[in-house]
């Protein structure tokens, strides 16, 4: 098993760790976001895009996170399905709304950027469509978990769906690249280094780290909430029996 989840698999240890880790990640996220936004808004206007280039600092990290969170959810679902671990399941469940929020943010900011730049709020381009399908996967996962009453059944069904989505997602991604595409290709993580000027790259990477830290903080808080909910339920059962 991967070392970090193995260490955190013990609920007591997890609660002790997340108790200080969650606020710490939150503080890091605030600092990084403040620095990233400051540098981003101080950055010069792009020679083609003008002021709209600043949307990139919100949009691109959100798009990164939309994929990253799904991978986290898939790994957590796998651990929950194979090792039947309650904490892994809580992690998968907690990640889904966060991932959906990041995906929605990417779609909305992209749309706001597309109107002045492409002249359309939405085009059925490869990248946009595959991100929209990713959003639908998150929605399907949440809908499935919400509509099964039995909690253990809902957990296992959700994990199966998350893994199916994990397999299907690359297929969706490649299938849509079939269509001629309007969205620009990768410019940060590519062979031969980034093509972005450092004055744009620095705030972008800062914002990426800020999003990552914010996700870490919110994820931990949501998992903690789930653990507390289960403890409260167990306490209520004990009280009812007594």
């Amino acid at each position: 098993m991967i070392p970090a989840p193995a260490f955190l698999a013990n609920p007591e240890r997890f609660m002790a760790f997340s108790r200080w880790a969650a606020p710490m990640f939150g503080a890091i996220a605030l600092l990084l976001a403040a620095a990233g936004l400051w540098l981003g808004f101080a950055a010069p206007e792009d020679y083609q895009q003008g002021a709209t280039v600043k949307i990139m600092f919100i949009h691109v990290p959100a798009a990164w996170m939309s994929m990253f969170v799904y991978v986290c959810m898939g790994v957590a679902s796998f651990l929950a399905l194979v090792f039947r671990h309650a904490l892994a399941d809580a992690a998968a469940q907690a990640a889904a709304p966060l991932g959906a929020a990041f995906t929605a943010l990417a779609l909305i900011t992209g749309s706001l950027w597309g109107r002045p730049m492409w002249g359309a709020w939405w085009v059925w381009d490869a990248r946009l469509t595959s991100v929209l399908v990713l959003f639908l996967f998150y929605l399907a996962y949440m809908a499935l978990r919400a509509s099964l009453d039995d909690e253990t059944k809902a957990a296992r069904a959700g994990a199966i769906l998350a893994l199916v989505g994990l397999v299907n997602l690359p297929v969706v991604h490649w299938s849509v690249t079939w269509w001629n595409t309007l969205h620009q290709g990768a410019s940060v993580f590519r062979k031969g280094g980034s093509t972005l000027a450092p004055v744009f790259l620095t705030p972008l990477l800062l914002m990426g780290l800020a999003y990552m830290a914010a996700f870490g903080a919110l994820w931990l808080v949501r998992i903690r909430g789930e653990v507390w909910r289960k403890r409260a339920e167990a306490a209520a059962l004990r009280a009812a029996r007594a």
């Binding site: 469509t129 399908v133 639908l136 996967f137 929605l139 399907a140 809908a143 499935l144 509509s147 099964l148 009453d149 039995d150 059944k153 296992r156 069904a157 199966i160 769906l161 893994l163 199916v164 989505g165 397999v167 299907n168 297929v171 969706v172 299938s175 849509v176 079939w178 269509w179």
Partner: protein
């Protein structure tokens, strides 16, 4: 082997006979095809342009409609419990159920699809490709759709939930199939789209039953 054949015959008979079977699917398909000219306007040029795409939308929707018959009925009357008790692996059972579903509803739709597309103004030369891709696409729809049907067993508002789960899985076959038809209609190479569609169907046939069986075991546990 005889148990597998027996199960296949049962599934095909049930899907064919009870609950309308192919007639309902084909009727639904004809209904969707009729709505299209009413919604977009009957100019032949415009209809001909969207006819292959509409063939795919209709196929996907018709496949979606027949999904709730796949596991739900057997789950409710307890037949699924009994089938699970048999020595046959549940993965094989699920695959046979999907295959029966495909024979009873997917294959008749593959015959109806070229007719509807031609009635909407698609060129006659497109008919064999529409038939072939609808046949292969139906297989992909049946096996990916089965995952959604199995996952939503025992859920509230199961039918709607199945649709929400399954629609993202239907995206690649629609893209590949619609892309192949589009390419053929405009004289471009279409083989890659058809090959990718077949590959997706093959992957669905291979991997879908594993997920379906896991979901069924979970629902019955």
């Amino acid at each position: 082997m005889s148990a597998a054949l027996e199960l296949f015959a049962r599934e095909a008979r049930l899907a064919w006979g009870r609950g309308g079977g192919p007639l309902v699917s084909v009727g639904f398909y004809a209904g969707v095809a009729t709505l299209l000219p009413l919604a977009t306007g009957p100019e032949p040029a415009r209809l001909a342009a969207v006819a292959p795409g509409m063939a795919w939308i209709g196929l996907a929707l018709a496949a979606l409609l027949s999904l709730d018959r796949l596991f739900e009925r057997d789950y409710e009357d307890g037949a699924l419990d009994l089938i699970t008790l048999s020595p046959m692996p549940l993965e094989l059972t699920c695959a046979i159920k999907c295959l029966g579903q495909w024979v009873a509803t997917g294959a008749p739709l593959a015959l109806a699809a070229p007719i509807a597309a031609i009635a909407l103004g698609a060129p006659l030369a497109l008919a064999p490709l529409i038939f072939a891709s609808a046949l292969v696409g139906g297989l992909a729809f049946a096996f990916t759709g089965g995952i959604g049907a199995a996952l939503s067993l025992g859920a509230r508002r199961g039918g709607l939930l199945t649709a929400v789960i399954v629609l993202p899985l239907f995206v690649p076959p629609v893209i590949f199939g619609g892309g192949a038809l589009d390419a053929f209609a405009s004289g471009l190479p279409w083989r890659s789209g058809f090959t990718l569609l077949s590959a997706y169907a093959a992957a669905a046939v291979a991997l879908g039953p594993v997920a379906m069986a896991a979901a069924c075991r979970n629902a019955l546990s």
